[in-house]
Amino acid sequence: MDPDTIVAVATPPGPGGIGVVRISGAKADVVLGRLAPEAPLPEPRRASLRAICDPESGELLDRALVTRFPGPASFTGEDVVEISTHGGALVPRLVEDAARRAGARWAEPGEFSRRAWLNGKLDLAQVEALKAVIEARSPAAHRVAIHQLDGALSRRIAGLREALIGLEATLAHHIDFPEEDDAPIPVAEIGRRGRGLAGELAALLEVAPEGMLLRDGAVVVLAGAPNAGKSSLFNALAGEARAIVTPEPGTTRDALEVALSIRGFPFRLVDTAGVRAGAQGVEREGIEVARRALAGARCVLLCVPVGEDAGPEVEGFVEGLEVPVLRVRTKADRVAGDGSARDRAGATGRSGDGGADRIEALTVSAETGQGLGELRDRLAELAFGGLLGDGAPDPSGVVMQERQRRGIGAAAREVEAFARALDEGVPPEAASAHLGEAATALEGVVGVIDPEEVLDRLFASFCIGK
């Protein structure tokens, strides 16, 4: 039995130039034949114009460009047909539905990638990167994702895998071949190689937090007293009137969220209810919602109008937070003079670290746009600093998926434990239990490490044969 032939619209809904309907499976050509019965099947990999008709009524649905990619040289490794229809919400859906009635079934989410993976067309890291391309919220995220799709992350991980195999081969030589021509490799040398590998794993992880943020967007929470100008700032940053802005205290009761791109990086801006003493009922609930929103934040913007104090309620609200609190002097348009002057005294750093890590406050005006540019820079720097500047890592090295991060993290810990154990005088054959764990941890990211590969490496590197 062959797997089902599947169909789905491959482009996001909404107005756009074209919509692509993709069909994959052994019956892809059969389905196409039923949708375009008048003309012969187009040549492989050549876009050809075809009239797409309803398989039952014969009614014309669209004139579309059709391209056939016979397997295995296709995205999924199976026979694939791509139909580029006119855009909009309706036409692609009609064609998709027609294909379904012509013998395909609707694809489950991610099923195309999954088939590509099963047929060895993509490795696991590439599949996840592909998902990230589709979901990419900003140019930066897209760039990283594209690099990974190229297999850059895969290559980097493959390099680590090679290093792990090399380390195991060294160990195998040490243990299995004590009487050979080459003197046994000193334990210190094995330890040194272990440290090297642990270092590389750690480097890959170092930018992992940014990588995760790239996928999910960095959450920035606006907090402050009612009417402190949060919603105006929110709208100014979002560039669209999202929150209702009124002078009456307590207007924003639920947290409002908007996904946006700042300096090319993905952010999720969250506006919250104003914090004040004696709030009742719905307003109290709003403050609770705000408190919960802080938990997932990468950064908090504490809004205090120029010339006012935050007040004890608001200070208490942000006290003890783990995340950076960036103090923003709002409504700068209301005061005369040098509105962009920095208000050093009013800045709070990470609470509780005695000001050692104080972050300067910024003065902004939602009205005039003053200070907003600088605020955007600061947000990008704060959340994605690891990816900016000269020493920034190749975006392909950014570990994006939680699963990858966990695997690499566990592997890094185990390899480090291996090196440490050797330093402590634990014999290598015992310490190697850590390498076993590391290999298992990386298995989910890079696939299985086969003892044969270790032996291949060993025999290639050492003259064995007493």
Binding site: L171, D176, P178, D181, G447
Partner: protein, 648 residues
Amino acid sequence: MELRYDVVVVGGGHAGVEAAAAAARVGVRTCLISPDLDRLGQMSCNPAIGGIAKGVVAREVDALGGVMGRATDASRIHFRMLNRSKGPAVWGPRAQCDRGLYPRAVRRILDEHASLDLVQDLVTGLELAGSRASGVRTRSGLRVRARAVVVTTGTFLRGRIHVGTHDTIPAGRAGEAPSLELATVLEEAGVELGRFKTGTPPRIDGRSVDYARVEVQPGEEGDFRFSALAWEDIPRQVPCWMTWTDERLVDVVGENLHRSALHGGALAGRGPRYCPSIEDKIVRFPDADGHKVFLEPEGLRSRELYVNGLSTSLPPEVQVAFLQTIPGLEEARVTRFGYAIEYDYAPPEQLRHTLELRALEGLWLAGQINGTTGYEEAAGQGVVAGANAALAVRGEGTFEPGRDEAYLGVMIDDLVTRGVDEPYRLFTSRAEFRLLLRQDNAVERLSGRAAELGLLTAGQVEQLEARARAREGLEEWLGGATLPAADANALLEAVGEAPVDQGVRAGELLARPAVDVEGLLAAAGASNDPRAAVPPEAKDQGWGAPWGVGHVVATERKYAGYVEMERKRAQALRRRSAVRLAEELPYGEFVTLSTEARQKLAAVRPGNLAQAGRIPGVTPADLQNLLLEVRRYEGHEKRPGSGEPAAR
């Protein structure tokens, strides 16, 4: 003439000897047929048993009541514990044996088996009853009917020896005829055959060596024993020697490469990378300054030396020429020339984990015929095949040691689930649980099961029980006894460990890397000696000796945390192993698996999920999907009244 047995074993090499002995010990009527009964357990190549991983297998064979450990003890003339400078988990006992004494000991031990008959003959035919093997025919016209046939013909199937590029002789090994008819008969019975090659170095006359120019390598003193459950007398010990080749050898070999059978293209089969000829070494590592050469005595009364490290298939005159470039061997006289041999083997994916052929019931294969190399590997398979053949005759289940139980388990699982593309040898790196599979604890890992299967004699079972009691006594003492600080520190200082401030538990002291059982017991003083509390025969158990039970306890304490890590991983593997995969699963229909995985699974038909995971080409994702597919398939199969059964 017609004879009837339960089990007939074809071939009296290391595999055949163990298979016959194991079947006979289980208690079925067994017959061993081999062309020369004076050469049972003959060492075709280097007369040495053991080494790293291989030495552990020799101990495992012994723990299963086998012949190899005892025969080695009775014939060893030089012993070293390889890796002694490393932790005890990777120690590898290795013994140089007397080429004449070893087969004699084997014969003596086999003769102890009441239900084993030996017949000198060459097997030329296979009797079939339908799709079952039912016996063999021999060159002298004997028909031997049996319910189980175990074939262990080593390098003899269509064996062909090469010396240089012109000289090729059909032979099973030097001076012995090959087995031609049997190869054809097996093929006709549907057994697939492939071709491998291997080689052996020249032997020289020890009187022609200048001993002043070579380095002496004394063996270890002390009575290491391969056999923990039966006692043999160990012969007198002699040294080995070592020397190095230099660039003059490179020149001689390099100029004559085209005259090598291995390099001149005369040989088709694949050879082992870890056992390269000197031709290979020079081609692959041209920059090496020199290669080690070990001179190993072939026996107490023999003057011949085995030249370890110089396996070759160059013509005789070149062998002499390159030998004479080596310091100490300038005047060397060759007694036997090195040669390469090619032979047929049966790709082991055709086997079940019991070593029975999938396609031909009643026929088991063991030893080099399964694509392995080495005496220990052969012997290990012999025990497993012989035991399973006997169990099958009795209808008593199977014996399939796991990867976390024995190197034997690792080896057989590798062979059956992955196949081989070069002659297979064991290394510690093939085992995922190196710390669990040690030479010291082979008895603890395997002998209990061996006793259940009937593989141990009454005497061996007694030893086993004594050993268990000794262990219990020791563990109890370690947990309870406390040494005063002064006594403890005297010991700690002597072995170079940091002192303690106050009295300390004996068990904690033993966890220190440099503290051994003997030292600990001595420091504790006689009144505190657990040996007083256990039966006297246990005192002979060697205690702190590397083969003794005290060593097992000490090693486990020293590695405690790490052994635990491996145990946990072994349990995870066990859980996967517990997911049985039925033989008839329709892998072709499991569409969520990759095409490659479907093909590989259908070819190998693994017995459980863990085995499936080790098949190259089956990914972790395939495994997950396989689990779901199997559940779905089984649910469908079991649903009452679900109409026609799923397609097979």
